[in-house]
């Protein structure tokens, strides 16, 4: 297993190099450049030229890329074109915020999704099943910014129960927790809908198998049948969807981050792309790509932990 993990981590290197080249080419090929954005629409040709030289954008593309990558290999992600801030520092602050949001919303979505999914499967075709599946269809189709704004109006403006914006980066504090509650529910809702449907369908497939009937015939309690015998075998697809969703929460949190004014990595990426801030885009995309690979690895390890038939050599 250790060998397998090591092998997977080694595979990260070509993935990240590939990502960095793709990002560089995209930024290089799309119109617009950082110097023009910094100079603004009023700028003269001299002003744009001076900024271009200062940022090194007058050098050939491959030199810009190699210079950047030589820094990365030394652990230096460079400095933002726009603000001059160290990219690693800018990412660190925002990464903690996004990760807190993603973990909190993943927990909400797992608790909500798996619980409702199990009950819906156990009570197939009951009113609860129909209600859950109805809500989950709504959850999948409703855009997160709309749910977010709705929560803000209800819990923030009308009931004045929850703060509308910001997050201090410390989810373990009461202040951090209440600030993250609405964004996490907004983000977790859509994801829980998907998990709920997956749990239900996966469980339904399992509970009609012979060994479940045998367990029931032996007089095992229904709760044990569902939670121990059936759920464990239904977990593989659920974990897969949780893993994919978690990755999505990291990269796709941008809308929720904007709505709730959370200083996260999704928002940072969008701002950086708008400003053609190459070092910032590159740094944040590499970080998100890295996290995606690690999550996939964790999911693969979990498969083996849950299902003894799965072994990695």
């Amino acid at each position: 297993m250790v060998k397998y993990i090591f092998k997977r981590l080694i595979q990260l290197i070509p993935v990240l190099i590939g990502v960095s080249i793709a990002v560089f080419l995209m930024i290089y090929l799309i119109p617009g450049n950082a110097a023009e954005i910094i100079a603004g629409p009023t700028a003269t040709k001299e002003e744009i030229q001076n900024i271009t030289v200062k940022l090194g954008l007058d050098k050939p593309a491959y030199i810009q890329y190699l210079k950047y990558m030589s820094g990365v290999l030394k652990g230096d992600l460079g400095y933002s074109f726009q603000t001059g801030q160290a990219v690693s520092k800018a990412i660190a602050v925002r990464y903690v915020n996004t990760l807190s949001l993603a973990i909190f919303s993943a927990l909400i979505s797992i608790i909500l999704g798996v619980t409702t999914g199990i009950i819906a499967a156990a009570k197939r075709n009951s009113w609860f099943d129909r209600l859950c599946m109805g809500i989950s269809t709504f959850g999948i189709s409703a855009p997160s910014f709309w749910i977010g704004l709705l929560l803000i109006v209800v819990f923030g403006v009308k009931l004045k129960l929850l703060p509308i914006s910001g997050f201090n980066g410390k989810i373990w504090t009461a202040d951090g927790f209440i600030h993250l509650l609405m964004p996490a529910i907004t983000l977790g809702f859509g994801s829980s809908a998907m998990i709920s449907r997956m749990t239900r369908s996966s469980l339904l497939e399992i509970i009609h198998q012979d060994y479940i009937q045998t367990a029931r015939a032996k007089g095992v309690k229904e709760k044990i049948v569902i939670l121990k015998h059936a759920l464990k075998n239904a977990l593989i697809p659920i974990i897969t969807i949780v893993g994919i969703n978690f990755g999505g929460l990291l990269g796709g949190a941008v809308v929720v981050e904007s709505v709730f004014a959370i200083n996260g990595i999704g928002r940072l990426m969008v701002q950086a792309i708008s400003a053609r801030d190459f070092p910032m885009i590159q740094g944040s995309v590499l970080m998100v790509a890295f996290t995606f690979v690690i999550i996939n690895l964790i999911v693969d390890i979990l498969y083996a932990a849950i299902d003894p038939r799965i072994q990695y050599n």
Partner: protein, 516 residues
């Protein structure tokens, strides 16, 4: 048994939700108490500042902070628009190329460095140094040499007469920085002690907020406000909600769709003021048929501007001139110029120009809410005279490149004058030397160039205003732009916050602010 399991699960979930809500309720009570703490302001901004140094920035979010920390030699009177001394005491022009500026005495930067002629020289020379790559170096482009005959006198020698010197010196990006602070560290990231202003920079959490605190030793008298937090909230609907609940104290630049909501809130005061921005339809003069005056006249005749302005909820004003009513250089006689909505006349002009059955054209614009709304309107209006418009929305960075390189045919733009002077609009937009940069129209007319230079170089201010008046008439008659509407600036403030005056350029100062 099954029933038991189901009801248990549901009750656990309900208990969790109720606990969370109660927990949250307690928390919001705490935050409510802290927000009502005396003399603290939270200002919401859609974007974060790019930096904190006036020398290295050129965006409105940075300027809002810079205006609290730093000061300029001159300033624009918020009411009259007149340029008056701030850090300067006064000035003299012994000849058109010499500006002798006397400075106020006994002013110190927040780091204790004395404010004097050396500080002014240091700041301006740094801006002019190409290595600094200051985005607003052009404000001092005419300056040839800076002398400091004594501690409180600065002499600016220009290569050619620079009639808008005082306007330029009132620009936020020519704020004076403490040489000691600037040499000691990067004031673009940490501006502590770097200005002479009423507030001292305290903290910047990039992407989240900037905090400035009261400068107790401010030369103009310490402000009443203890601290101001510039909070970044990218979503307008959220920012509006924050002002509604009191989580934030003020907001500017409110779009039409959110205005009513704020006006209906008894705790919020909304200010609407005629602004100096203009939103326009521009043409690339190097692309046919837009070099033809009759075609441009036909297009202006075909657009029902009043109809569009009626959708703006009072946030737009009709004025026929390119230089709008709030700018230096405006004269009301311009309202008898321009081309009224008249589709038949438009068709006739198009036929006279040789396009009786219309033509195809592309309209390029940055895909912001404002332009996304205008573009289909223009498309529908021009369809009536058989001009088949293809819409070409782009992200802002791409739009800047596209328009600068002369690829656009027709384009939508907006122009806001920080200085409130018509020259700040004409020179970047229509001077031939700025083709390839800010002159997206690629307008190249020696006669117009000469007139623009006169509006820039004439020292006699009355004469200069006269040249601006002439230019406004000439450029409006020649339809260099179709001015769609002139802006209205907006500000929403919690009613307990007083003393903030909105200016026609959308800016404001916190110097006299206080909370009741």
């Amino acid at each position: 048994m099954k029933k038991n399991f189901l009801s248990k699960t549901i009750s656990i979930f309900l208990v969790a939700v109720i606990t969370a809500a109660l927990f949250a309720g307690c928390g919001s009570e705490t935050s409510k108490n802290s927000s009502s703490a005396p003399q603290k302001i939270t200002y919401v901004s859609m974007t974060d500042a790019v930096g904190l140094s006036p020398i290295l920035t050129n965006d409105s979010a940075s300027s809002a902070v810079i205006r609290t920390v730093y000061e300029t030699l001159f300033m624009r009177d918020p009411k009259t628009g007149e340029i008056k001394p701030l850090l300067a005491e006064g000035y003299e022009n012994p000849d058109p190329n010499t500006w002798i500026i006397k400075l106020k005495k006994n002013i110190k930067f927040q780091d204790g460095t004395p404010f004097n002629s050396e500080a002014v020289k240091y700041t301006f020379e740094k801006i002019l140094d190409p290595k600094t790559a200051s985005p607003r170096a052009s404000l001092l482009k005419s300056v040839d040499k800076i002398e400091t005959p004594d501690e409180y006198t600065v002499v600016l020698h220009t290569k050619t007469p620079y009639g808008i010197m005082l306007t330029a010196l009132a620009h936020d990006n020519l704020s004076i920085v403490s040489p000691k602070a600037d040499k000691a560290g990067d004031i673009n990231k940490n501006a502590k002690g770097a200005g002479t202003g009423p507030y001292i920079f305290e903290e910047w959490v990039p992407g989240d907020h900037i905090t400035v605190v009261k400068n107790k030793d401010y030369w103009g008298g310490a402000p009443k406000i203890d601290s101001i937090t510039f909070k970044v909230v990218p979503e307008m609907a959220t920012a509006v909600s924050m002002v509604e609940t009191g989580e934030a104290d003020m907001l500017v630049g409110i779009p039409p769709e959110h205005l009513e909501r704020l006006k209906n809130n008894a705790d919020v005061e909304v200010t609407q003021l005629q602004g100096n921005s203009v939103t326009y339809l521009g043409f690339n003069f190097e692309k046919k048929p837009f070099d033809n005056l009759k075609v441009r006249q036909a297009i202006e005749h075909a657009i029902n501007r009043d109809e569009y302005i009626s959708t703006l909820n009072g946030l737009g004003i009709r004025s026929n001139g390119i230089i709008g009513p709030k700018l230096i250089g405006y004269n009301s006689e311009i309202e008898s110029h321009g081309y009224k909505y008249d589709v038949e006349k438009a068709k006739a002009l198009l036929a006279e120009a040789g396009y009786p059955s219309g033509f195809k054209a592309t309209l390029t614009y940055g895909n912001t809410d404002t332009y996304n709304k205008i573009a289909p309107f223009i498309q529908a209006q021009l369809k009536k005279i058989n001009i088949d418009v293809t819409l070409n929305p782009m992200d802002w960075a791409a739009y800047l490149s596209y328009a600068k390189s002369g690829k656009a045919e027709m384009y939508l733009g907006g122009w806001s004058n920080v200085t409130g002077d018509g020259e700040e609009l004409l020179y970047p937009q229509f001077f031939s030397g700025n083709i390839g940069a800010s002159n997206y129209a690629r307008y190249n007319n020696p006669e117009a160039d000469a007139l623009i230079l006169k509006t820039r170089e004439t020292i006699d201010q009355n004469q200069r205003v006269e040249y601006l008046r002439q230019a406004n008439i000439k450029f409006t008659d020649d339809v260099l732009w179709v001015p769609l509407y002139h802006g209205v600036v907006t500000m929403a403030v919690r009613k307990n916050l007083k003393g903030i005056e909105l200016e026609s350029n959308g800016e404001f100062r916190f110097n006299k602010a206080y909370k009741e």
